[in-house]
């Protein structure tokens, strides 16, 4: 087996507000292989979002290191890190993923345009992926004119549109009904299979978790369980 695709070593993050410090995560080590799809679960406030932010390089950990594809993400210069994100990562955040001034379609196109894809190709790709998440014909709506679940799906479409190596999804199906949830998960699994994309998903949904290859359970800032579904 080759070296781990994503590797975290004794990650810790402490927030200090005034004099009080909150240790959101501490001493987290684990690794993820290329093409793996895993779910992180745990009670509210246990540090899931914090962990994700530290892994992706959106946040600076207080201690520990993260390697992605053999590169230490936290020693990378900011521009290189930005470019890496633009090319190889897709994000779905817990809330408000979209720029309100752009239409759904334009939101989805943005990562493609950023990596130099022509407008025409970007428009086509955006329309295809929006159709995949069940939003055919909604491309011209502004986020404020969409429902919470629809917005979440636009965000998912945007995370997937440039076929990144890794997709980070924080509660991607939180606002969705069961049927749509299942469809989204199916899409994730299919992409994982066909394109060997790596998925790291934070979710409270046990059904979703059960369908992924691996579940990491957290509690009070640490990993308490790391199981693989057979």
């Amino acid at each position: 087996m080759s070296a781990a695709f994503i590797k975290a070593a004794s990650l810790g993050k402490t927030y200090t507000i005034n004099t009080q410090s909150v240790e959101a995560i501490h001493d987290i080590s684990f690794s993820v292989d290329k093409g793996e799809i895993l779910t992180i679960m745990g009670p509210s406030g246990c540090g899931k979002t914090t962990l994700l932010n530290c892994l992706t390089g959106l946040d600076e950990p207080s201690s520990g290191e993260v390697w992605i594809d053999g590169k230490n993400i936290h020693t990378m210069p900011d521009n290189a890190r930005s470019d890496y994100r633009a090319r190889h990562m897709g994000f779905v955040f817990q809330y408000d993923n979209l720029l309100p001034v752009l239409t759904a379609e334009e939101n989805v196109e943005l990562p493609l345009v950023l990596t130099g894809v022509s407008l025409k190709d970007a428009r086509q790709a955006a329309q295809e992926i929006l159709a995949r998440v069940g939003l055919e014909g909604r491309g011209h709506h502004k986020p404020a004119e969409l429902s919470g679940g629809q917005r979440q799906r636009v965000a998912i479409a945007r995370a997937l549109v440039n076929k990144p190596l890794i997709i980070w999804a924080d509660e991607p199906t939180g606002d969705l009904d069961d049927k749509t949830s299942v469809e989204i998960v199916e899409l994730f699994l299919e992409l994982n299979r066909t394109l060997q994309q790596t998925f790291i998903i934070v979710s409270h949904d046990p059904d979703l978790a059960a369908r992924t290859q691996r579940i990491i359970r957290m509690k009070a800032g640490t990993i308490v369980e790391d199981t693989r579904n057979s």
Partner: protein, 1025 residues
């Protein structure tokens, strides 16, 4: 009126605040907590409102300063002098002591004493004075070479004891006949102080004096010549005049030696005439009574009416008591001067109010914008409060209380800040004026009225508060769902008849305004009425017709109507308010038209930016933000455009002004920069001889030299009974064959039909005995002063000898020159034959074209020094014209400085708005960063967005500014300043202003964008912040 309103407003607000503080404590504490919680936001809000108020207070303070400085200038120039008395002959005749009028010009100093005794209370002082004009030079030592010269100085001879009581607070020293007191201004000009020697010259004669004392300018009355005044005892001046040869002297032998025999004869007859007149002169002759009315320097202007009546009565009584027929004229100097100054000041202040009006409008827009942004930021919070059941009214009051706290802080700081800023600007302007030595006398003195401060504060409070109420009502009206969802634009709602109330009321008001405006031809209302109608129709139809179409049509209609208004409305340019209104309407209509038709903007912009590969991902962001917040963007663009608009107008007008000046200089000088004017005829004078052996100025310094010989003739009452006295003395150019030779280039506009060519006309002038060629000023309606004579070729003109008015002859008009101010030309031969004018009576005028590369001013100074003894006045035509437009230039500089400050404020306003919008967008920036946008790209997108907004403002402002300046030019400028001034756009200056404001405003966004882009994305992505 403004003051009363301000006080009412402030009392009202204080009452409201007291009410809130006692009865609605909760609101106050919530408001205070909100402010404390969002320190940065609060600071920005206060800053924005402060800047707006500062614009108002600085406008008022500049107005105060201008007004004060102009009046102060008059007081300084006149000191205690309020009016003066001269004889009728002196007041009508240009040359105060022409030999033939001596007995009518001088009178006994006794008259002064008599008037002093008779007038009593209303008159503070009467000073009998002997005024003469001489040239002065500072010399190294008695008999030495001149160092610095001033060609015309007012010699003021008076009883020094009386003078002291009358004009000065300082004790005057004992003076010998060699001593002199000079004004500060003259001292500065000649760099002379106590102990230095000055030489006075007149008609080739000189006398030297030692400076005993320098008096401050406000203690020396300047009657004429800019306050270059020398004070002597009455006897000294009398002695000087005697020496200088006009009263009882002989021509000095040395001078006589150079004069040919027939010239001697001429001089002796002139002297003989003078002598006979001198016999009849009163004892202790003076030529002026200076009157100081009771009261202070500034108060004298008001009491002068009573004092003038008293002086007139006293003079009449003097005549009856002494059985004489002295005809006096009393001239109200200070009152007139103050009136003239006020008029000039009022003109400038009006223009300033116009320009200040635009800045104030920009300030108001900034304040409104800031509060709209504040409200928008609170949208969600307000949505939640409303969802929880808070009433609209409660919400409005909550917001209002918070706003009121901001308002009070911002308005008081802003009002003071504006005044401080003005002080800085004025200090800067003073510096500029000093370095460019634009002015020698006029000084701008910073001042402000307490009322202005109060009005600015009140206006700031009123506007800010109105903006707050507007914003909070708008917010509380919003549907809760919209607030919660943070919808950017309100969605189409179901039509309710209530929405029609305002448009209908507005429409009715519009009809009313139209009715009043058009029946009374009141331009403000003629502009406002129809525009209001159009706008109200648009709002009324909003629910049925496409908004874009509707508002595009409405704004296009207003735009077209406004820009064409000056063409078809009568009496359009009456007041200043119409200008402000026109400007604002133009800018607002254009911006709304643009904002509703964004395609017009987006297509070229995305094409342009899209060409650059690295910018492509940013194009959409750059455009989407301003267009999503249409209202706010429109306000921002208008704010910026309004300031740029005013700046453009003033730059263009200044350009036209300078162009006019150049044209005028070119027309008047024909390339001859210096003019030498001789106070009297000096036969045998030759410039080359005078300059022989000089180092500082040589004949080589002149490219061309032109000489004209001039003599005064007289138009008598017998032939021209209607003519104004001031036009009776006519200065004629006496031609010689040589002169005609030189002059052939001088084209004619009209000539007698019998002549085939211009050349033939000039030749005939020399050969015939009765021809005259007139300048264009005698024929053209356009350039002719009122009351001036008018002639066409073929008509006849009767000229008389000025010394012997019985000698008259008729001359026929042969032609009219194409240029103004030339001639009239008559041959010297014809003048001798016709009215007996001696060839030695001519005074030469030299015109000198200074070689390129030489400093004209220093050549002039050197010439003055060389020719000081000949009584030659060196006139720098350039500075003469510039002096004439001096006040206007100063004013333009001041306005430009003020507008520069306004621009700075506009830019910082844009900065404040950008800081706020970047702050608002923190979360979005986090998203972009997560998506892989680099820090630099985020900064660049905000940078370009600011540039986009600023560029729109600039384009609208510059475009409309040029158009409006053109309208002002065609309606005002051409008639008032110079008919030949061509319209001229100073592209270089505008280019500099445009690029500086564009770059500066773009730079304001870099700092906040960088700050935000630098934050780790996870931080900005936390909604809570």
């Amino acid at each position: 009126m403004f003051l009363t309103l301000t006080i009412i407003l402030l009392v009202g607000l204080a009452g409201y605040l007291l009410f809130v503080a006692t009865r609605q404590r909760l609101f106050l504490s919530i408001a205070l907590r909100n402010i404390r919680r969002r320190k940065a936001t609060s600071l920005l809000v206060v800053l924005g409102a402060m800047v707006g108020t500062a614009m108002i207070s600085s406008s008022l303070a500049v107005g105060d300063t201008l007004d004060y400085s102009i009046k102060q200038e008059v007081y300084k120039r006149l000191g205690a002098l309020d009016s003066f008395v001269v004889t009728e002959a002196a007041s009508e005749n240009a040359s105060l002591y022409a030999a033939e009028t001596l007995e009518q010009v001088f009178f006994s100093a006794e008259v002064g004493e008599y008037v002093r005794e008779q007038t009593g209370e209303t008159v503070d002082g009467v000073l009998a004075a002997l005024i003469a004009y001489v040239s002065a030079a500072k010399i190294e030592e008695p008999g030495g070479e001149p160092v610095l010269a001033q060609p015309v100085v007012t010699l003021l001879g008076a009883d020094l004891e009386a003078y002291q009581e009358f004009f000065t607070t300082q004790p005057l020293p004992d003076m010998t006949t060699e001593d002199i007191i000079i004004s500060e201004k003259l001292a500065d000009r000649l760099e002379a102080g106590p102990g230095d020697w000055l030489r006075f010259s007149l008609w080739g004669q000189t006398k030297e004096f030692q400076v005993k004392m320098v008096l401050p300018d406000d203690q020396v009355p300047g009657i004429n010549f800019e306050g270059y005044t020398a004070l002597l005892s009455l006897d000294s001046v009398h002695g000087l005049l005697t020496l200088f040869g006009k009263l009882d002297t002989l021509i000095p032998p040395a001078f006589l030696a150079t004069v040919p025999d027939e010239a001697k004869e001429y001089f002796f007859t002139e002297l003989e005439k003078t002598r006979s007149l001198l016999q009849q002169l009163p004892p202790h002759p003076v030529n002026m009574l200076m009157i100081s009315s009771a009261g202070s320097v500034a108060g004298g202007a008001e009491t002068s009416e009573a004092s003038i009546a008293a002086v007139k009565t006293a003079l009449d009584r003097y005549n009856t008591e002494n059985q004489v027929e002295l005809r006096f004229r009393v001239r109200e100097l200070k009152k007139d001067a103050v009136a003239i100054a006020e008029q000039a000041g009022a003109g400038f202040t009006a223009l300033f109010i116009i320009l200040g009006g635009f800045t104030i409008a920009a300030g108001i827009l900034l304040i409104v914008n800031i509060f709209i942004m504040l409200a928008e930021e609170r949208k969600r919070e307000i949505g939640i409060l409303r969802a929880m059941g808070m009433k609209r009214r409660t919400l409005t009051s909550l917001f209002a209380v918070e706003g009121l706290l901001y308002t009070l802080v911002a308005s008081s700081l802003g009002a003071l800040g504006g005044i401080a800023a003005t002080w800085l600007v004025i200090a800067g302007v003073q510096q500029v004026l000093r370095t460019f030595s634009l002015v020698s006398s006029f000084e701008i003195q910073f001042t402000f009225e307490l009322t202005s401060l109060l009005i600015a504060f009140g206006a700031g409070v009123a506007i800010t508060f109105a903006a707050i109420i507007f914003a909070s009502v708008k917010l509380s009206r919003m549907q809760i769902v919209h607030a919660l969802r943070e919808l950017l634009r309100s969605q189409t709602t179901r039509f309710s008849p209530r929405a029609l109330i305002l448009p209908v009321l507005g429409f009715l008001l519009g009809l009313l305004l139209c009715g009043i405006g058009f029946t009374r031809s009141w331009p403000e209302l003629e502009l406002l009425g129809p525009s209001l109608l159009v706008v109200c129709i648009a709002f009324g139809l909003r629910h049925w017709v496409n908004e874009r179409l509707l508002f595009s049509l409405a704004s296009a209609a207003v735009l077209a109507y406004t820009i064409l208004a000056p063409v078809y409305l009568d009496r359009y340019f009456q007041g200043e308010f119409i200008f402000i209104l026109t400007g604002l309407f133009l800018v607002v209509a254009t911006v709304i038209l643009l904002v509703f038709n964004e395609v017009l903007l987006i297509a070229p912009l995305s094409f342009l930016l899209g060409r650059i590969r690295s910018l492509r991902p940013l194009v959409r962001l750059v455009i989407s933000y301003p267009l999503s917040y249409r209202f706010r963007s429109a306000m921002t663009i208008i704010m910026f455009a309004v300031v740029i608009f005013a700046v453009t107008i003033i730059s263009v007008l200044k350009g036209v002004q300078q162009e006019a000046m150049r044209t005028q200089i070119a027309r008047q000088t024909d390339g001859y920069e210096l003019r030498l004017r001789f106070s009297q005829a000096i036969p045998g004078f030759d410039l080359a001889t005078a300059l022989a052996g000089r180092e500082d100025v040589r004949m080589d310094d002149f490219d061309r030299i032109r000489v004209r010989q001039q003599v005064d003739v007289y138009l008598t009452e017998e032939f021209y009974p209607e003519l104004e006295p001031m036009y009776r003395t006519l200065t004629i150019v006496g031609t010689t064959p040589d002169f005609i030779e030189q002059q052939t280039a001088l084209a004619l506009r009209e000539r007698l039909d019998s002549f085939a060519t211009d050349e033939a006309v000039w030749q005939a002038l020399e050969h015939d005995a009765n021809g005259i060629i007139l300048g264009r000023q005698f024929s053209d309606e356009e350039g002719r002063s009122e009351g001036y004579l008018q002639f066409d070729p073929g008509e006849e003109i009767t000229l008389c000898n000025a010394s012997d008015k019985q000698q008259c002859a008729v001359y026929t008009v042969y032609g009219i020159t194409s240029g103004w101010g030339q001639g009239p030309f008559v041959s010297q031969r014809a003048l001798l034959a016709g009215i007996g004018i001696s060839p030695y009576a001519y005074k030469p005028i030299y015109e000198l074209d200074i070689a390129d590369g030489l400093d004209i001013a220093s050549v002039a100074r050197a010439l003055e020094k060389v020719l000081i003894n000949e009584g030659v006045q060196v006139i720098n035509t350039m500075t003469m014209i510039e002096e004439g437009m001096r006040l206007f230039s100063i004013f333009l500089t001041l306005v430009q400085a003020y507008l520069g400050a306004g621009l700075l404020v506009g830019i910082s306003g844009l900065g404040v708005i950008m800081i706020r919008s970047v702050h608002e967008r923190r979360y979005h920036i986090g998203l972009l960063r997560a998506m892989g946008f680099r820090q630099g790209q985020v900064v660049l997108s905000v940078f370009l967005e600011t540039g986009f907004v600023a560029l729109l403002g600039i384009m609208v402002g510059v475009g409309l500014g040029i158009a409006t300046a053109y309208i002002i030019y065609t309606h005002q400028f051409t008639a008032e300043v110079d008919a030949a001034a061509s319209f001229f756009i100073p592209w270089v200056e505008l280019g500099i202003i445009i690029s500086i404001s564009l770059v500066a405003s773009m730079l304001t966004s870099i700092w906040p964008a960088r700050q935000t882009a630098r934050i780790v994305p996870s931080e900005t992505l936390r909604r809570a912040s």
